[in-house]
């Protein structure tokens, strides 16, 4: 299978597709991620967007931040809407009602719109094999409605529906592993990304859109408002998520795992946790529980890399 050569950051188009003037909070790394994804995908793209922060900040009628054909329908169905766009274009081009053209379909939703309410529609779209790229912008809670917990909220985080209380220390469930759920659909391409690593993110988007069939990209999107951090720390916190192993950057291409941002030694999770207001209440004991879990999961990821890479095994 042919895939396009990745374009380095400085060769990206100067054209913007997610325009300034949107109403995202200051320092919102989710908005930054959207801008990068669309820059990487380019002009010939149609976007289907779920209800959530990115929809609300970008489309207050009669204004729009979208310099692309863009459609929002509801919260939980963006994978189905994108499936429809793809099926529509396919039929119209095949029947000669539209000229043949390589138009990329991108579906976008938050972590709630993906791992909770939209999981069924997403699973259907991945299973049916539509040629589209689904991007989950994971800010680890329902931010648009006021920082409620989702199944992607990490253990220990305080949210408005998992508040740190005297008895219960915030979220007491472990983050749902959405990328693994996507991998289980045996689609051609799954990746994690973070706008703190823009080149890595751009290359993954370009790989995803150039592969026929469904692709899934899970982007950790730091939300200063919901994570209770100063707005100038979004990039740094994203880097720490990667360097502590809390959110490793990897891709799964045709079933083969590869870590794309290697760290010789993981930083302690404490460095990531203690700078965020949502984890302020965590005790040493809880922090070490989290450390243990991160170590285990990272080990497991390395095993998957080793197992699937075969002879190409990385040191």
């Amino acid at each position: 299978m042919k895939t396009k050569k990745p374009t380095p950051y400085n060769q990206l188009s100067k054209e913007e597709f997610f325009l300034s003037g949107h109403r995202a909070c200051q320092g919102c790394a989710e908005a930054l991620a959207v801008r990068l994804v669309q820059k990487a995908a380019g002009r010939d793209t149609i976007v289907a967007c779920a209800t959530g922060c990115m929809e609300i900040v970008s489309s207050p009628f009669p204004f729009t931040s979208w310099n692309l054909p863009w459609i929002h329908v509801a919260f939980e169905n963006t994978a189905a809407v994108a499936s429809g766009v793809e099926a529509g274009l396919k039929a119209l081009m095949r029947k000669g009602k539209l000229p043949q053209r390589d138009i990329k379909v991108i579906a976008m939703a938050g972590d709630g719109g993906t791992s909770d309410i939209g999981l069924q529609a997403l699973s259907g779209a991945l299973e049916r094999g539509h040629n589209l790229t689904y991007v989950c912008y994971d800010n680890e809670a329902y931010m648009n409605t006021g920082i409620q917990r989702s199944s992607a909220t990490p253990f220990g985080a305080s949210t408005t529906t998992s508040p740190a209380g005297k008895k219960v220390p915030g979220q007491i469930t472990w983050k749902k592993n959405m990328p693994e759920i996507a991998v289980a659909h045996q689609i051609p391409y799954v990746a994690t990304a973070c706008p703190s690593y823009p080149i890595d993110l751009i290359q993954k988007v370009q790989k995803a859109i150039s592969k026929p069939g469904p692709a899934y990209i899970h982007i950790l999107s730091v939300c200063p408002t919901g994570w209770r951090i100063p707005s100038n720390l979004a990039i740094k916190v994203g880097r720490l998520a990667v360097r502590t192993g809390i959110f490793p950057l990897y891709e799964v291409e045709d079933g083969i795992y590869r870590i794309t941002q290697k760290t010789s030694k993981l930083l302690p999770v404490k460095e990531y946790l203690t700078i965020q207001g949502r984890f302020r209440h965590l005790t040493e004991e809880l922090i070490s529980q989290i450390q243990e879990r991160v170590n285990q999961e990272y080990e497991l990821l390395l095993k998957k890399v080793a197992m699937t890479q075969g002879e190409k095994k990385e040191e």
Partner: protein, 392 residues
Amino acid sequence: MGKRRGLEVSVGAAEAVAMADVDVIAAYPITPQTHIVEHLAELVNNGELDAEFVPVESEHSALSVCIGASAAGARTFTCTSAQGLALMNEIVYIASSMRLPIVMILANRSLSAPLSIWNDHSDAMSVRDTGWIQVFAQNGQEVFDHIFFAYRVGEDPKVSLPVMIHVDGFIVTHVIEPVEFWEKEQVERYLPPFKPISRLDPERPVTMGAFAMPQLFTETKVAQDMATTQSMEVILSAWEEIYKITSRRYRPVEAYRTEGAETIFVVQGSFGETLSVAVDELRAKGEPVGLVMPRLWRPFPFELFRSAVKGAKNLIVIDRAISFGGQGGPLAIELRSSLFGLPAPPRVINFICGLASRDVTVEDFKNIYERAVDGSKAPVFQEDFQFYGVRS
């Protein structure tokens, strides 16, 4: 005219959808809708219909797929019943508000609980206010003709709204009837290709489904209501064209033997055919009785309805759905209010019957007539409504 073919109504419906050159079909199985989509899947997989058949994982996604495809410029079709419709309800509203001319057959079935696969209009009435143009089709031929009608009306740039065709589950969907097909050229002449006002196109980016602040929300909704009301003109001309092609006359309000009628039955859907037999028999005995069937449910043809029942003393409105705790069935409530304020309005006598396919025969309709109107033609019925045929 094309050939007459004896076939199951569901199969005929699917054949019409195929003849309409649909581009994308998305549906999820539910009885009694299944035969329609099964036949479409067969046509696609046999290479007889060039379309994308998207076998979605739910009805919610079925309509969402249609929305995405329609926004991309494709002609789309979906089809469901009761629980499936209830599950897609959120998107039913959005489809019309986004002004996308999707066509749906609703094979009418009762809403759970208790679970029932059988036919009534509780699902139809649950979507009354969703902003779709809605018509009732009584038999296979009407279903067949109304597929072309639905696309032609919905896709007209003056309308740009989705259209729902109500068809009684089993009672109509599963019977074998003769259906007169249209010639291919007739369909092509009647139904021009879908040319959306705007579509998702990288050459001309548009934002669809933006959110509106309170300053603009009302105006958006008023525009939608105006489009629905004004679609009447397009609807009438679409029926007029069908008449020219097929010599079959469809009207927003169908009337049967209403000349000089003192009592008029009002009913929607397949009960009309049974009732017309009861009306004939009552007329033969000298009873001044007629029948009116509002075919067009939304936009509701108020003026035409009022003139269709003008001069009648009694209206016997038969509902096949309940408005729990309300003043009768949804049809009666609507009609009663449409008559309010007229100088000498007929009395509305409402029966609710035929839930979950409980049989209502010619004899039953004659009983209903007797119960509503005594020998001296004075109404004997005091309550707002009665259930008919309930076992004691």
